[in-house]
Symmetry: C2
Subunit: 311 residues, 2 copies
């Protein structure tokens, strides 16, 4: 039995796996406390809580964190846990739990799960892009998780796609996540609404500024034509960046993850079309497969458990 | 003794290595004949010529080709050898030579050589970008050559960096190689000259349209201020794309290759500066090392020889 944890900005999800990783045998949750010692306390008590429930000791523990994690398992910076910087998560947890602990970026652990037992199953060349507040990405290359020199590979959301474009909060002009993250879809929808191109959205939300993800999802499910036009424009931005990654990495499968995946084929179909439109030599190469993530919100925790004790 | 060949658009270079790969024990050349059977004839006769000179049989042969080569060693398309398509180079040469033959893209073989015995020596995470007619790229990741699912990884020159920018001959808007290839530097210099911002270049070349790589190199060596301003603008384009690759792949070393490397530190220094300006979190990560390729025009042939017989 192995335990995997996903440390998000507001909550920590812990799962125990044994046998089929897609069917955790225990799932616990706790709120995230944005402070280093309390973070370790939270993790330790979730691990011990699961062990008490199962009456069994986990032989290894894996942790995925939304932040910059280096190869030694030190968390350098987590945008949503500002109280924790340069914190040796792996060393501290290994000491407290006295067993092997693996610590990785959460996009990395989610990608490992999706590549091995999710949408990328069966392929040795998988790129996963998670469209959320920003864009997280990670890769399985030649069957192995690729971390990079420092462990910082996958910052694909910061790939500049519009060198003269608008500035991101990072100061960079035109990075991909400015156009293709979940946040960007909201901006696009509110811009369309302000231009009078999203009347159903405005009717649902009560105001242009009130439009959020729930209104977008409802309008997509309703097949509202104006909303689908906005989604197509958004899918073009996603596809353009995915095509860049296809040119650079030549994956067999691109897994699209993040909360937006709830939009289903209404999102994935136009992403497939726009990616194909931007990949060169499409007549000389087999088409890349683009699929929605299958493991949902538990992917990062499941992948962390799978990576615990050496993958 | 192993033999490596670099198949370019106009000539084929063959080297034999034994011991130190950077010191070939034989170097032969022949013109490229743009026809599949003649190409194999040329390769076979270069191999047999070297073997006759050395009085020794190569135990394996490697080939690097400027084109789309898949993992089975089939050349699908080579922009500068239009007469050769969908040609199983590896199978044909294995049959003729009756020994192991490795066939790869030339940027891939050059990268292997630079990563192992050139500018990337000692690092397991090397990205090489070759600035020539277009931009070729290849990667050594976790110490291994990365080829991609089909063998087509490294088409980084087609990464879009200006989604609303000018169209490339491929039809794509704003791919990196439109701004940062050797070709692009020539365009930039002629544009500056037409605007009256490159008087020394015009004086050397006799006309704006006459400006070519030789005039650019001479003006750089002269430290002509107008030329160095153009080169800085060009280095910014290079650095922007290199920073994208750093965000995506987190390499330790980026090797800059291609004919432009003759410009030396006048090019590499501003590329270092602009890359650093575009990489986020520079205070949280060790700086990527950016160096000029060290093996010169023989890198692709040397790397092909090194990859022959299993690397």
């Amino acid at each position: 039995m192995r335990i995997g944890l996903d440390i998000g900005g507001t909550k920590v999800l812990a799962v125990a796996i044994d046998g089929d990783p897609t069917k955790p045998i225990a799932v616990h949750r706790a709120p995230t406390v944005p402070d280093a010692d309390h973070l370790s306390d939270t993790i330790e008590s979730l691990v011990r809580g699961i062990e008490a429930e199962l009456g069994e000791t986990a032989h290894a523990v894996g942790v995925g964190i939304a932040g910059l994690v280096d190869r030694s398992g030190t968390l350098w910076f987590a945008p949503n846990i500002p109280g924790v910087t340069a914190y040796p998560v792996r060393d501290e947890l290994s000491r407290r739990l006295d067993r092997p602990v693996a610590v990785e970026n959460d996009a990395t652990t989610a990608t490992w799960a999706e590549a091995k037992v999710g949408a990328g199953e069966g392929s040795d060349h998988v790129v996963m892009v998670s469209l959320g507040t920003g864009i997280g990405a990670a890769y399985v290359l030649d069957g192995r998780l690729y971390r990079g020199w420092n462990g910082f590979a996958g910052e694909s959301g910061h790939m500049v796609v519009d060198r003269n474009g608008p500035r991101h909060h990072t100061g960079e002009r035109g990075p991909w996540e400015l156009f293709a993250s979940g946040t960007a879809l909201g901006v696009l929808a509110r811009e369309a609404a302000a231009d009078g191109r999203a009347s159903a959205l405005v009717a649902r939300a009560g105001s242009v500024d009130g439009i959020d993800a729930s209104h977008i999802e409802a309008a997509v499910l309703d097949e509202d034509a104006q909303m689908l036009a906005i989604l197509d424009e958004f899918a073009h931005e996603v596809g353009l960046g995915v095509a860049n990654l296809v040119h650079i990495l030549d994956p067999e499968v691109v897994v699209v993850g993040g909360g937006l995946v709830d939009l289903g084929d209404a999102l994935i179909d136009p992403v497939r079309r726009w990616t194909a439109a931007h990949v060169l030599g499409g007549d000389l190469r087999p088409a890349v497969r683009i699929d929605a993530a299958r493991l949902g919100s538990r992917a990062a925790a499941i992948g962390a458990a799978m990576l615990a004790g050496g993958g």
